[in-house]
């Protein structure tokens, strides 16, 4: 196995194992996702027609918040126990371990969110045609969200109260994803071909995979080693 691949799989497996040991913590974004979905009908209206209108936007805003909630811990514990420093001074490539960590983050937040989304679609009386596009869009979109949130997590890793700041700096970067993500659902509800916006989400994910690990590696090197 080439060196770079080992870096990826080692950190990918390690972070998944850590997440498995803290199952409660990992579950909280999903619970948050479902709970907010309950608040929408209570706060606005239980009427199916209005809920249907609101569903695409609501689901995407909630997915965005849920990934942000969990992103803070992406590098903080490694930073505190010194393993991040070990990683930084090791001669191996930094990009692959980071890629592994972010992918593990997506597996533990984005993927469960995607799988839980039909439940929320049900609660918000989403038309049945929109379920598949919703899940496809969320699967690609939450990947982008994870990579962007990881940049924010790296930038704020050394700060005491980074979580609010993380939200503040990452949120504007999320706008395109939310636009195209909810458009995928809206298109399918309106009976139009929804592959266009979905393809754009995929393109954004490809760019994020290519560029974000590089940016994160640069940030971690710049900020943690002074």
């Amino acid at each position: 196995m080439p060196e770079s691949n080992r870096g990826f799989s080692a950190y990918f497996r390690r972070d998944l194992l850590l997440a498995y040991r803290r199952r409660g913590e990992v579950a909280s974004p999903i619970i948050f996702f479902v709970m907010v979905a309950t608040l929408i009908p209570l706060g606005i209206t239980p009427e199916a027609d209005s809920l249907k209108e609101l569903a695409p936007g609501t689901i995407w805003v909630m997915a965005l918040l849920a990934t942000l909630l969990s992103a803070e811990g992406l590098f903080v514990s490694d930073y505190k126990d010194g393993s991040l420093e070990q990683l930084l001074i090791s001669p191996n490539m930094l990009v692959m371990p980071i890629f592994g960590k972010v992918t593990a983050h997506w597996i533990t937040t984005g993927l469960p969110l995607t799988l839980a989304s039909p439940l929320i679609g049900l609660m918000l009386s989403l038309p049945s045609v929109a379920y598949l596009p919703m899940m496809a869009g969320l699967a690609l979109g939450t990947g982008c969200l994870s990579f962007l949130a990881a940049i924010g997590a790296a930038l704020t890793v050394s700060l005491q109260k980074g979580s609010l700041l993380l939200t503040l700096i990452v949120m504007p970067l999320y706008m395109p994803i939310i636009i195209f993500g909810s458009a995928v659902m809206q298109y399918s509800i309106d009976g139009m071909a929804w592959s266009g916006p979905l393809a754009i989400l995929g393109a954004m994910l490809a760019v994020a995979i290519a560029l974000c690990p590089l940016a994160i590696a640069a940030v971690l090197r710049l900020i943690t080693i002074n």
Binding site: L155, P172, M175, P176, F180, N226
Partner: protein
């Protein structure tokens, strides 16, 4: 190639001294351009056939929007230069450009809102241009907040430089997607600005105002950078000499 000019430009001392020489002229040019452009735009440009006199807000709205965006790119470029060449001055420029850019973005939003009331009948419309401006303001806030969150200035500089660069990569994507989103929803038909179809009598004062805002931006940035240089270099000999000279002049005046 001889790069000494480049490194000399990065020296705070060189920047401070050469701007001392140019500041009076720059202030004068800025003032003349601003006054002339405003008077021309507010008093002499013909009124718009559809929008009437409310159209005159264009002479503030468009230049402010221009500089808000250009200011973000300047800030990110300065940050990139700081990251690559580790130049002290470029981080100072980046830090000082953030609040000025945020102020101009606010100005663009405010003038847009005030213009929207007589044109669309409401202060806020989710127009593509205005929404993009709002997101730009959020991007500025992020850079500012990150800068101030770090106690270690060095780390804060680097972090906000990277964030500014990430924002720069994202700005075209954000603008394009907001544009696309806007065409999807099409809430209003009147566009605020339609430059190509503008009559020359209306367009010329706008050009003057845009130029005036560029000069103003340079002036405000230079003033802010000079303060920051003084603060950071307060222990060096040249600043001490400068202060001593200033106090001696004051004594002489008395």
């Amino acid at each position: 190639m001889n790069w000494t000019w480049f490194y000399r430009m990065g020296s705070p001392l060189w920047f401070y001294q050469s701007t001392s020489r140019w500041l009076p002229l720059l202030s004068l040019v800025t003032l003349v351009l601003l006054v002339a452009g405003l008077a021309w735009g507010l008093g002499f440009a013909p009124e718009d056939a559809k929008q009437g006199n409310s159209f005159r807000i264009i002479y503030l709205h468009v230049p402010a929007s221009f500089l808000a965006l250009a200011g973000y790119f300047l800030m990110a470029t300065a940050g990139a230069i700081g990251l690559i060449w580790k130049m002290k001055l470029s981080y100072i420029v980046m830090k000082c450009a953030a609040p000025i850019g945020a102020a101009l973005t606010f100005l663009a939003l405010f003038t847009g809102a005030v213009w929207g009331k007589p044109t669309w009948g409401s202060y806020w419309v989710w127009d593509a241009r205005i929404t993009s401006m709002l997101i730009l303001l959020f991007l500025y806030f992020g850079v500012l907040a990150l800068q101030y969150a770090f106690h270690n200035q060095e780390a804060g500089n680097k972090a906000s430089a990277v964030l500014a660069l990430v924002g720069t990569v994202n700005i075209p994507i954000i603008y394009k997607s907001v544009d696309w989103w806007f065409t999807l929803h099409q809430p209003s038909t009147i566009k605020l600005t339609s430059a190509p179809s503008m009559h020359p009598d209306m367009f010329q004062p706008l050009l003057v105002m845009i130029l005036a805002f560029y000069f103003f931006y340079a002036l405000a940035l230079i003033l802010a950078v000079r303060v920051e240089i003084l603060k950071r270099e307060s222990k060096t000999t040249w600043v001490r000499e400068l202060v001593e000279q200033a106090s001696r002049q004051k004594m002489g005046a008395k």
